[in-house]
Amino acid sequence: MAETNGARKSLGAILVDCAIAALITFVIAAPIMGLRTVNSPGGMTLQQHWGKVLTAVAVVFFGRLVLQLFVWNRSAESRGLGQLVLRLAVAALIGFAVGTAVCFLTLGADNMSLAAAMENALLAMPWNVATLLFALAVFSLSYGFFPRNAAAAREGADAANMLEPLGDLFKLALLVVALALPFLPWSDRYILDLAILILTYIMLGWGLNVVVGLAGLLDLGYVAFYAVGAYSYALLATIYFPLWFPDWLMPYAFWIALPLAGLLAALWGIMLGFPVLRLRGDYLAIVTLAFGEIIRVVLTNWADFTGGPNGISGIPRPTFFGIPLDSSDEGLAARIGIPFASIQRIIFLYYIILGLALITNMVTIRLRSLPIGRAWEALREDEIACRSLGINTTNTKLTAFAIGAMFGGFAGSFFATRQGFISPESFVFMESALILAIVVLGGLGSQIGVVISAIVMIGGFEAFRNLDFLRAVFGNEFDPAQYRMIVFGLAMVSIMIWRPRGLVTRREPSIYLKERKAVSGELVAEGRG
């Protein structure tokens, strides 16, 4: 990322720079992309895919050229006609490159030697003309769009906060949409399922926000508490409640187990937290990661108790105060005299998770203005000062850990009741990373940031299922879902580089003198540990 603020580079220097970038790309791409190992009967063999390598090299070379010419290396004085023509000529070249890239993918660059791949590039001429026009349009438009350098861009982005003009109105609108969602005309089962998933992650994000955003404790094993909640509910509802309780109480299983699951998760939070919370920063991170893994390994291997890798199935659905949501005569639909439809159950689940998430949010907001919440934030900013002022840091950290864990437990039992089936597969490290990513990308400590980034991340994740039209462009073998995770990873990296403080950089102070003023995220020390 060359942030050149100084003198402009000559075209020659730019070309050399791009050539180096292309060379590095070649070194990176050649073995892994160009030579695919294939298990064949006679042992491993290599399949050649040089088309892909050339595509990658071309994309990097020309992509960097564009950035050098149009974004990084621009000055206001250089807008003469000659410069423009030169730049457009380069844009034409870029069009050629993009065309070539598309051609490689469409003509099936599989198992092709280097020479054959080159030959194919010439066949792609018609593609090139089309993409060239497109590239010309895009780059001429972008010419005036990018700020002159990245530093200025960052300042500009922070000054004009995305949500500043909307503020509370935006939150209210979001809440109204959330409440009305099941009754909107375009809401179908798919949308509701997606909304439930997003809300689950919003709730998990809010729970983790207490630990990481408010108390500044980096927890890489949050999924452990999610798992404890899920397994607590599943085991209680399928094995223990039938032993303990009379039959008439069974329809209430979810509502009895939900607080229990939360409490159990909180208990685990305290048990795990007590020995390790003395650790600072990254040590805490790695120990929590280890705990997450330990819980998963135990869940997988303690087959007598947890069902092992097969998991637990037949987890009962929640009921509306004891009234099941099914097609039977006692079902809710029959009792209030409307025809039964399976979507009613989904709507019910949607409102449960919405309620749970809103409770999480409200509790967090209220806690922030209580002494304990202030102690969390003070602890995050300066642990030594806190200790000197007589705050019991261990207890303060422990409460944050336990409350975060409790919300994770609630979300876990909701997950179990919604799926009806759980297995250790659902509680891998990737989930912890995803939740942490949602919190950090949204802007640590910001409640609305979690909502936005959960919608962007999970929604974006889901959108990959609907990209089948790309097959028309890239050929039938192209499966967009394959590229879901890599795009997710790239997004994590680029959002961090673009906005290290997350999407929402505004922070609401929890205590203030006379008047509430928002502060920039740059001024608080989140997740310092």
Partner: protein, 323 residues
Amino acid sequence: MESVLREIGGVNWEYFTQQLINGVTLGSIYGLIAIGYTMVYGIIGMINFAHGDIFMIGAFIALITIIALGLTASAGLPVLLLALLLVLAIAMIITSVYNWTVERVAYRPLRGSFRLAPLISAIGMSIVLQEFVRINQGARPKPMPPLIVGNFQLMERSAEQGGFVVSLSYIQIMIIVTTVLLMAVFSVIIARTSLGRAQRACEQDRRMASLLGVDVDRTISITFIMGAALAAVAGLMFQLYYGVIDFYIGFLAGVKAFTAAVLGGIGSLPGAMLGGLIIGLIETLWGAYFPIEYKDVAAFAMLALVLIFLPHGLLGKPEVEKV
């Protein structure tokens, strides 16, 4: 079966010795990866979460080079060793380019940013590397017949006592010798060369170092390159030793190696090696005498215990808290 063996004729020292050998071998591999973590953490204070995946990349490049060169066990040991040196060189160079690029693209723009930003970026990069390999190489494990076969028989337990042969295979010797050699080379680099001095200076105070004329960016880049080169060695060794790799090996190996680095005291080179050995031994011995499914639990529990009682690791320097 092992437990039956142990019951016949008292303590089965032969079995124990064999496990020690296996543990040291595994520990050497962890140690090589752990050095990458510890050096990067020492110099810029971040967990390079993608380092485990750099190790995986190293293993894949080694595998691809071995197939491309057409190496088989029938080539004879001297030829194989020479060829493996070539494989090692190629894997080290390409893996270094990977890590250099990762640092350049994902970490350098975030230098001086708040603490979690590089960590999230590193987790993102770890996903990218894994998926890059999965998409291009396929998700199925890649088995390879063993290249280096043969072993020395060290001890033998008589048949009436259950019969057990302690063997030290050539590949185990190779792994341990290479690790010791590399450790020696790296210790000298850190202690004696100007590069090592620059690294130690950056570790203590980056700003002061840059004021005194140390090129901090270059030093950090070189640190990443060195870490990757060692990870590539570990990758090749892993590939040769276990004979099967897939795109996901980096995660668990990375977590264990980071555990090793923390255990030994993060920032300390001998500590990383020691931590690696301890983790390798715990894992192997646990797997030999207790339910093998819980060997990871044992390693992680050990980490938690050490950190609780020795928060700075075995060989780490205690940090002075500054107000």
